[in-house]
Amino acid sequence: MSYLIAPLAIGAISGVMAALIAIVDLITNNYGEVNIAINGGKKNLAVKGGSPLLLTLSSEKLFLPSACGGRGSCGACKCKVLTDIGPHLPTETPYLTPEEQKDNVRLACQIKVKADIGIDIPEDLFNVKQFHATVLSIKDVTYDIKEVLYDLNGETVEFESGKYVQLVIPPYDKIKGSTQRAYSMSSRPSNKTQIEVLVRLVPGGIATTYVHEHLKVGEKMDLIGPFGEFKRTPGHSVMLCIAGGSGMAPFKSMLYDMLETGEKDREVWYFFGARSTRDMFYLEDMRDLETKLPNFHFVPALSEPEEGDGWDGPTGLITDVLDTYLKQHISAEGKTLEGYLCGSPGMIDACNRVMNENGITQDNIYYDKFA
């Protein structure tokens, strides 16, 4: 029996140690109920402490933007923290400008709620909901862009054209956790029971691969939104819209909204760039809108038309076409020109340069920089 003494002793010591660790963990990591005061107490949440702020807020149905699901790789879930919760973490600083750090802006996914805190968030976020939607249709609008229409199953969405939603991609294949990605809504705001998005395939992209290769009509999927600050200003300024690929989405929404809300006389120039005709889509819809919105001008351009494309429209990079039109076709006399951009950071930077060179000031250029 003596040979059992050592293993039994080790087992007993391990058991005691495990129990001690569990007790210490319970005491030190039990923050009890804490209060989150939002926007000076406009909303107060009593929550269980100890979890990341992003997760805590979403469990209370208050959603901050997040394109990585709290993994700390998108930098989207910024919010201003009014309480001293310690210095910025190394996982936050790459995503925050020096001004934001000075202003105590934090990444909600990286900070934990351990005591009462006060935060400031945009008021719009109070209207963000999680929708349990069903896929109504999936259409190929080009070889690599799909138009996906969701039914909100009795829920309704209130949004202004230009806003985006986050698709919650479920685990699939070797992807073990759910992932969220942002897509501009292409549906019109008057349609409150459905949401439409355009998804362009990115090789190896988790969300786009799912939508292109796995998503089926009738499937349930969660959407969170609306988010974003991109929207058209009221008034009569001339709108210069520039997009390529799935960047079409917010402008499709805006143009149909203008048609439905009677904003028909506003001057709008829409520059849409593609490489060849196989990358071009919604041409007929845009031409039809030109007949219904008398001051709407659609300018599609191809950067590398292929043999047999039969293209007789403008050619070149969309920024070059924009530059030509600003110099030769669009009169700024007595008008304010405003830029509306949707695309990659490179495209947005290039458009900003062209607009600035043509006298459009930065405060009149609008975009949601998705990267």
Partner: protein, 150 residues
């Protein structure tokens, strides 16, 4: 090469859900030092040079940016699309933060494609790591040689 504590920590960061949802190892069960060593041997057998590959990948990524998110012809023989997604990615070795830049290179004559990210370039340049077998972003050296005509 031996599995140092540094490599062990990097391999732990490569698991799905740590830095990216998919991780960096695909279905590869080899340890990190073996993956790097065996890929270095393949590189040598194919007469490829790490610096030259890095230089080429960076060249195509930068040329692709000129398409402003749309595909653009580079050096007459390749169609390149460089695009960016929101956010940044930390290197599993925690020595670099890359933008989420995706690059697709297509050989115009054969239609064969290669795709990689900003982080792929850093992983190869700084660590000789091409990602594990079965990973969506693994740089297959045979494909690299063929698509880039090296």
């Amino acid at each position: 090469m031996k599995m140092t504590p540094e490599l062990t920590a990097a391999q732990a960061n490569m698991a799905p859900g740590i830095i990216t949802a998919e991780g960096f190892l695909g279905n590869d069960t080899r340890n990190l030092s073996t993956i790097i060593d065996e890929d270095a041997q393949i590189m040598s057998r194919l007469h490829l040079n790490r610096d030259t590959i890095v230089e080429k990948l960076r060249h195509f990524m930068e040329e692709g940016r000129k398409g402003l998110g749309e595909p653009v012809t580079v050096d007459t023989e390749w169609l390149v699309k460089t695009d960016e997604a929101r956010g940044r990615l930390t290197c599993p070795w925690e020595d670099n933060i890359s933008r989420k830049t995706n690059v697709t290179i297509e050989r115009k004559d054969t239609g064969e494609k290669l795709f990689y990210t900003d982080l792929s370039i850093h992983l190869l340049e700084a660590h000789g790591f091409l990602e594990g077998r079965g990973s969506s972003f693994r740089l297959n050296l045979e494909s690299v040689k063929h698509v880039l005509k090296m």
